[in-house]
């Protein structure tokens, strides 16, 4: 079962929850899908057992076979191609590797080549399995790496997927592969606006989800009000605590190191698994 941890905005506590909860379940998988800036490894320090490269397929154009019909340029919905001085020019950062230009070319002037955009580290950290996706610097498309991670992960295990912030394609790749979604929300007005976006997306995908309210002890909590008005299931609340913040900022897995936090995260775990109908 895949449990995805999402948030509209960054810094709400996705990694805090996914790392601490995964650490409570023997033989679970912690999967860091925030491939632009994975940080779960800073807590788990996994031993890397295998590294899987992730490639994007990009087209190469043969100037001898190209007749300059521009069908490929017109077809490319990502506007990655231009025809300049009798040659097709590709803007690699815009190309999604869909293969459309190769299919549309009637003159067999397009072949494809693999271009490495990142890799997946597969490892172990104490009793849990880890997967960390890494996107190479200057690359822009995170989705193929995330999709590859979901292809590789053993879904018979309990998988805690630490997802990217926002509501873009990379987040959608996580949502569609998740059996249950935990939205970690921050009690600010900005947090509320971002929460709205992610809830809209989850509704679109018909996802099964619940919300954890992080840093919930503010006098006026717009997010809590918003959630309660709409009868959205709240999995639990965490108040802001300096000790928790300090220990986490040092990379400490508090669900393992402190009994108080151990029981707090265990309660969250039971609640999540109950809501997710995990047996």
């Amino acid at each position: 079962m895949v449990i995805a941890f999402l948030s509209g905005k960054g810094g709400t506590g996705k990694t805090l929850f996914s790392v601490n909860l995964a650490s409570l379940v023997k033989d679970s998988v912690y999967m860091d899908c925030d491939v632009e800036e994975p940080n779960g490894h800073l807590f788990l320090h996994p031993e890397i057992l295998n590294q899987v490269p992730v490639n994007k397929i990009i087209p190469v154009f043969d100037p001898d076979l190209c007749v300059g019909c521009r069908q490929c340029v017109d077809f490319c919905r990502y506007n990655a191609l231009a025809f300049i001085h009798n040659q097709v020019h590709i803007e690699g950062s815009l190309c999604h590797g869909c293969g459309g230009c190769k299919i549309i070319c009637e003159h067999q002037a397009v072949r494809e080549t693999a271009h490495e955009i990142g890799h997946i580290d597969i490892g172990k950290s104490n009793k849990i399995n880890t997967m960390t996706g890494w996107m190479n610097v200057i690359e822009e498309a995170a989705t193929p790496i995330i999709e590859e991670m979901f292809d590789h992960v053993d879904k018979t295990k309990l998988v805690f997927a630490d997802c990217p912030p926002g509501a873009s394609c990379s987040v959608m790749a996580c949502i569609k592969n998740a059996d249950y979604v935990v939205v970690v929300a921050e009690a600010t007005l900005y947090g509320q606006e971002n929460l709205k976006l992610i809830l809209e997306l989850l509704t679109e995908f018909n996802s099964h989800y619940g919300i954890i309210l992080n840093q919930s002890n503010t006098q006026d909590n717009p997010v809590k009000r918003y959630i309660m008005e709409r009868n959205i299931p709240i999995l639990g609340e965490v108040n802001y605590e300096l000790e928790l913040a300090k220990r986490s900022s040092m990379g400490e897995i508090v669900s393992i190191s402190k009994s108080r936090y151990h029981s707090m995260f265990k309660k969250f775990l039971y609640q999540i698994l109950k809501e997710a109908n995990y047996e």
Binding site: N79, A82, I84, L94
Partner: protein
């Protein structure tokens, strides 16, 4: 020689648009006969890759010089391939910038905007 300048609207006096690829219109100055005509930018609303499409369009119109406040990396790459020179405008007055270009007083744009972040 044709010179392209992104403009806010096709009403005179022409005002230079902040963005190149997302400009609603372009002014095309032909300095061989001192004429100015305006064209609509069909790629104004493209969700992505507008820079590539605009650069292709200007290349197809046989433009040799672009005057603009800034230029994205994708468009810059196509302009480089097409050997179209891009110069950075000063202020928003089209006529003034055209005069500055003729006086060779505009700087070539070497630092571009990357796709998401402004490089300094």
């Amino acid at each position: 020689m044709k010179i392209a300048i992104p403009i806010v609207s096709d009403n005179k006096p022409y005002v230079i648009n902040d963005s190149l690829a997302r400009a609603p219109y372009f002014a095309l100055i032909d300095n061989s006969n001192n004429t100015v005509k305006t064209i609509v930018n069909d790629y104004y609303f493209q969700p992505g890759g507008a820079g590539v499409k605009v650069a292709q369009m200007l290349c197809d119109l046989n433009v040799k010089v672009v005057l603009a406040p800034r230029c994205g990396e994708n468009a810059q790459n196509i302009f480089n391939q097409a050997q179209i020179d891009v110069y950075q405008t000063i202020g928003y007055d089209l006529q003034n910038n055209y005069d500055l270009f003729l006086q060779k007083a505009l700087q070539s744009i070497l630092v571009t905007l990357s796709n998401h972040h402004q490089e300094v």
